[in-house]
């Protein structure tokens, strides 16, 4: 919506809250070809010291189900068909297990123009960071995404 103010660095872009669910852990483990039984077998998870089935390391990507990516892309003024993800970064304080109640706040932490020259248009580079906090208020996982919007040749 044009009335919306443009997001600037430091702004909160969206918030998400979800519970780590056994079915989703299994689905995501299968989709990423994980073989460790701690993601699928409660006995194996318990034997490894987990209080419940362990989530795979990039499990919080499932927050995509609870986010409106298209709205966020619009809020940032990006053209979806020119957007690619350049890199991702994870920092782990503890592994996630089934039953964890997570809240993630996504912030815009960088917005710059990069590259260009020798006939190539510059790209816009957006850096987004989400810290997922558990029910006790402790940070469990940090996820940083660098999104690139390819420029339009002039």
């Amino acid at each position: 919506m044009s009335a919306e103010r443009t997001r600037t660095v430091g702004d909160v872009l969206d918030e998400v809250a979800f519970t780590v669910e056994a079915g989703k852990v299994g689905e995501f483990a299968r989709a990423t070809h994980a073989t460790d039984p701690v993601h699928s077998d409660p006995v194996a998870a318990a034997a490894a010291g987990f209080g419940a089935l362990a989530a795979t390391p990039t499990h919080v990507v499932v927050s995509g189900h609870h986010r409106d990516q298209r709205a966020m892309v619009e809020r940032l003024g990006l053209a979806l068909e020119r957007v690619i993800v350049g890199s991702v970064r994870w920092r782990y304080r503890r592994p996630l297990v089934v039953g964890d109640e997570l809240r993630g706040v996504r912030r815009l932490v960088g917005d710059e123009r990069v590259g260009g020259g020798s006939g190539r248009p510059p790209m816009r580079r957006i850096t987004l960071e989400t810290t997922f906090v558990d029910a006790a208020g402790e940070a469990a996982v940090e996820w940083r995404e660098v999104v690139l919007e390819r420029g339009v040749p002039s």
């Binding site: 990423t32 995509g64 991702v88």
Partner: protein, 149 residues
Amino acid sequence: MSVREPVAVATGTAVPEREVGPITPTDIVRFAGAGGDFNPLHHDPAFARRAGFDGVIAMGQMQAGMLASWLTDWCGVEYLRELDVRFRAPVRPGAVLRFTGEATGLGDLDGEPVAALALRAAVGEDEVVRASAVIAVNDGSRAGPVGRS
């Protein structure tokens, strides 16, 4: 309660390789459903062509997730501390991803022995993902099993 030991790692220790593929459109759709990424670039060939690709490409998070799961199947998800992934080239249906990596050094993170790893995914000779990771390791100084939670 028993906990798993971290892996014993020296500089140069290789992560056991894994191959995944050939990647099919179904693999990409399965990941889209698992993660909730419904960007049409990853399932709608007409949209992908308008975006300048010759067909759908996988979302980077798919190969990043495969790399992460490959790594923690070996080192234990409870021992992964940091993971940085750069996407270097699109992954298309038909690609066979080959994951390789090795320890590049040992160190200490918040008082815990760790190893730095250099990791990659390649399709044939082409590197499509480059990554680095920090994992907790058993450097021989641990008195017994150590777990964080």
